[in-house]
Subunit: 279 residues, 3 copies
Amino acid sequence: MIRALTLLTDFGLADPYVAEMKAVLLAEWSRFPDPFPLPLLVDISHALPPGDVPGAAWLLGRVAPMFPAGTVHLAVVDPGVGTARPAVAVAAAGQFFVGPGNGLFGFLARGGPVTVVRLDNPLYQRGRGGKPAPTFEGRDLFAPAAAHLAMGVPLHQLGTPSGPEALGAVDGVSGDRADGPGPTTEPALGRIVWIDRFGNAITDVARDGPHGTRLMEGAEVAVGSTAVAGPGVTFAVGSGDRPFWYWGSGGTLEIALRAGDAAARHGWQVGMAVRRSAP
Amino acid sequence: MIRALTLLTDFGLADPYVAEMKAVLLAEWSRFPDPFPLPLLVDISHALPPGDVPGAAWLLGRVAPMFPAGTVHLAVVDPGVGTARPAVAVAAAGQFFVGPGNGLFGFLARGGPVTVVRLDNPLYQRGRGGKPAPTFEGRDLFAPAAAHLAMGVPLHQLGTPSGPEALGAVDGVSGDRADGPGPTTEPALGRIVWIDRFGNAITDVARDGPHGTRLMEGAEVAVGSTAVAGPGVTFAVGSGDRPFWYWGSGGTLEIALRAGDAAARHGWQVGMAVRRSAP
Amino acid sequence: MIRALTLLTDFGLADPYVAEMKAVLLAEWSRFPDPFPLPLLVDISHALPPGDVPGAAWLLGRVAPMFPAGTVHLAVVDPGVGTARPAVAVAAAGQFFVGPGNGLFGFLARGGPVTVVRLDNPLYQRGRGGKPAPTFEGRDLFAPAAAHLAMGVPLHQLGTPSGPEALGAVDGVSGDRADGPGPTTEPALGRIVWIDRFGNAITDVARDGPHGTRLMEGAEVAVGSTAVAGPGVTFAVGSGDRPFWYWGSGGTLEIALRAGDAAARHGWQVGMAVRRSAP
């Protein structure tokens, strides 16, 4: 079995914080009698906007399932660090997740059975006098727990069993926001959940979901007042003047502009609704 | 022999794409009976401007030869993903290269004999129903191929043998562009091929090339209307007011400004010609 | 014992330089008869502002002690590359440091006994004809030395023993700068030494130092004309209108704004003094 540990934060790479967490991982592993082979460290991203818990949840929910069984995901987007939200470790779908119970891991409970513990075992806590710094639990509480999970320490040793409610609720993208006037009164098929570097707008309209079936044969959708034809197959579709939609590599509807930045051109943002155009 | 796998993309580090490719690498490796020791993952860069194939080719051509024999380079700068350009794996100079046949690897054929295959063996393709997503062949086609090369699978198993024409041609920096009025009518010695973070302009005028010999004893060159004296030896040369040239660590002529940003000061960009000043 | 090698530079991640150094590390390791398991590579940061030696020293001084014994730190922030400043390798507190003797490692000598060598053994130098490129000693001089230290080569083999004066002096943040008019004439408790991505201002006022004791029970401090109450415990303190101070995870006084960017709001910069408010 491959041992891998991923990191996902909103810390950026200019500050000491990511390196401090990695230093703690190595320091913990160096206490094991035969620490080789070490788990492989993989950075998922440290470029989340500060405090963007819904974005982090989307990113992790997309990427995590592709990693092998046994992978440990250490995810710290935690604007409420040190406050009453719980600190948790979770086993779900053969993998492990460690971080704040602020909604970041809420998607796990929606996907199947989960086992949750609160990280309250002082054996796996670090910091001054064994007390985690209330402003950096990523280093003193989450990293040590993740380090031990990656070395095979059982989840239940890390703390007190808890229910999925300890994962918290995301106060994020949901509901049917006003998106300005549009050419249609159809209900939303879904929403834009991510805009990537190329300006492609990724939505949560799943190809395998109820709306996906309706869209299979080709259909025009709309974001705000902009109509979007599709589906295209590659990015080399259309005139470069009008956006088109396609089934993205994550299994949901995406919208792009040939050789251009669709989101910037049209002012699209995360949270905007995607509707079916009126026929 | 060291097993190493490098990654070079224009994906940035904020989106899920680089992590998805790494997840696929790990998932492929986890299928091997004894996957340890894993190949070492090295990020060359993910900060290429979107679609900058010539820039990616320059970067890879500079860095790759420094890696040990057997290294696998997974390079995905691929604005035509999913279109007719081939997907290739290449053996050249004792190393392996996997990515699009869009000119990115054209430099390999200019450097010596290459062995090329088209990645058409479905055994090494992933995606929904084994069909690579046409918008993300980096994940579904290139990463699995690179993963297997790094574990010792022979190149010829990955697909159909092909000629070097499958590497494609770069539609990039070449020819003798107009660069505005200059103090000289000398033909170009070469061009600016990269501008680094410090504002140093790196050219393709090789120290070991025909022009290099002429410049050995010291000579003034010019970019546009700006004269550049040299050669200097370190960055601590000159007055800080005038740029100077030196033989850079990559073996070609570079131009810098002492404690300053030469390219920003003078408005230099990739593609501009470097000429010898009229005597 | 875990073998780990960290990298800290001001090179950014868009240019070839960091990848070239890693390529050299791998190439050196591939010459060893049994190079596995390879040392773990950990990037501390490559986002230092160009030439920011004091910032690099602060970052390394904060992060390095958290790594396990035996870790090799390869640090290259070196605006004087190729000039007379020495190239050094240092053993201090059970770890190793390789880079320029320009003050970057000065903090090591202040922390206890150090062993210093100048990197003048040609056996561990690379480059054209074995001569390091004067503009990239990070690749040709520091990386080979660090590679060998990480494989167990003794420090004294790398060059000539030297005294701590070879570490150089930082020409950085010190003294009692003018910071404009303030509400107090108290002497400075310390200074802002780092501003992080969240806008938190990290100072060098140590909790365990003489000023720390005075501030334990709560006290108002000031930066320029802005009063700062504290200590808070988590970031969820205060009204969001006024900054507050707290004991940061690095053991020094920090200043933040609830759900805001304290430094941007108040125009704070590295080097500004923190004073105790007049009672």
